[in-house]
Amino acid sequence: MSKIVSRRRFLIGSAASLGAIGLTGCDDITENQNVQKVLALAEGLTMGTQRLLVSPQALAREYTDKDLSPTFRSNGTDNPGSEDYAAMVENGFSTWKLKIDGMVNKPMEFSLADLKKLPSRTQITRHDCVEGWSAIGKWTGVPLGLILQSAGLKPGARYAVFYCADELEQTLDGSGRYYESIDLIDAFHPQTILAYSMNGKDLEVAHGAPLRLRVERHLGYKHAKYVMRIEIRDKFSDLWGGNGGFWEDRGYEWYAGI
């Protein structure tokens, strides 16, 4: 019997301490750095498993015109609002240039007209926000792989980093500026395009004019809007928060396939 009693005591003790954690400790546990590291292990597992179970070439589902969302919600920045950006809106982005540099053999610049002359891809895909909502839109743009091929990647190149015109937080070091990064598997995926058109019209300011990334198979925050420059790099740990993106530096997963 004494064994059972001690087990009971153990149970009551465990239940009481679990209850105490439940009442006061969850936030402390959440903020504990070691707990964070353990919880973050799941991201590597998720990415590894998805890379293993989903072919690098597997396409996100493409929908038809009748599936388009009647209203495509804009999220994050609606308008970068800076003087430089306002001036470009004013002149119809005729002075805007996309720069491709970093670990490439041939750094390049493209005007919007240049991009529109290149071979394009049109796809009707579903945009999944990390918050939980989805919207279906029709996107036309240049496959990123095509541009990277013409620029030519140097050995050791691993990531494409996108620098954007919008600044979500005003900071001195520029860490509030939007940026994103993807690996070369996603950069060369057939549906990864630099989109200048949405639902058959030029991209609106609220949706990232003049150019946004579409990296289907990832959540919305990877689809950088207002793209100004693409830098090819071997790492991103030396950029601002070191996590490869504006939201990644604020706790969101770099691998956003889930």
Binding site: L39, Y63, R73, R217
Partner: protein
Amino acid sequence: MADIDATGAPPVHPRTMYIRRHSIVTRLTHWLNVLCLSLLLMSGMQIFNAHPALYWGQYGANADPSWLQISATDGDTQPYGTFRIGSLTIPTTGVLGASKEDGEWTVRAFPAWATIPSYQDLAAGRRWHFFFAWLFVFNGLIYLLYGFVAGHFRRDLAPSGAEVSPRNLWHEIVEHARLRFPKGEKAKRYNALQKLTYLIVIFILLPLMLATGLTMSPGIDAGYPFLLDIFGGRQTARGIHFITAWTIVLFVLVHVAMVILSGLWNNIRSMVTGRYAIRTEGEDA
């Protein structure tokens, strides 16, 4: 042992005998599941709070009609919360839509005491959710492997034809409603209601949570687009994920109530140590 009918037997004394009810695998996976499901529910509510509306179909966002929504309206001194399902709107101030966080009125779907972390932090909620989703998957795989290989499902959970006859099921429902639980020899095994309920949870509800969760992943959808066809779209899958989660909560509430009513300590001991006491009103040996 005078098990056979002994007529004219002396006064009957209740006896207690212990049987080994739950294997070590069942016990470990059960408690790990308690941990996983609790944290998955709390972090799931945190994630839901980021966009507290549900839609049917492939897409759904603010401008689209939702079938369920938790929202708040401004008042002079405090916000007022409402829960809407279809066209039915229920005031839920204090719990859903608007509730107090550190003494301050806050607009949030599920209240701070129910979510992890307590404050609004979608990124942290997702980290908790996916970590415990993985643990839940590993735990479930071990349990399923054990269940099939060691014969746990066949031996303990598969009901016989007689057990699932309408007559027997009705009899058990009536007995349960009267809170009369099996004793003696019958208490050694699960009754048909238990078997069916556990089978539904193990083979339908929990796998459905996983499958609808995976359908919300844009990466998995690319590799396995049939998931979108099975569930009728990502937003429908999100709704089924929500409904199934609360169905599991309902199961847990009934399960815990039954555990308490049919002998709290005996049940808990059997799920911790494996030993389960059977009381028989048998004769002395």
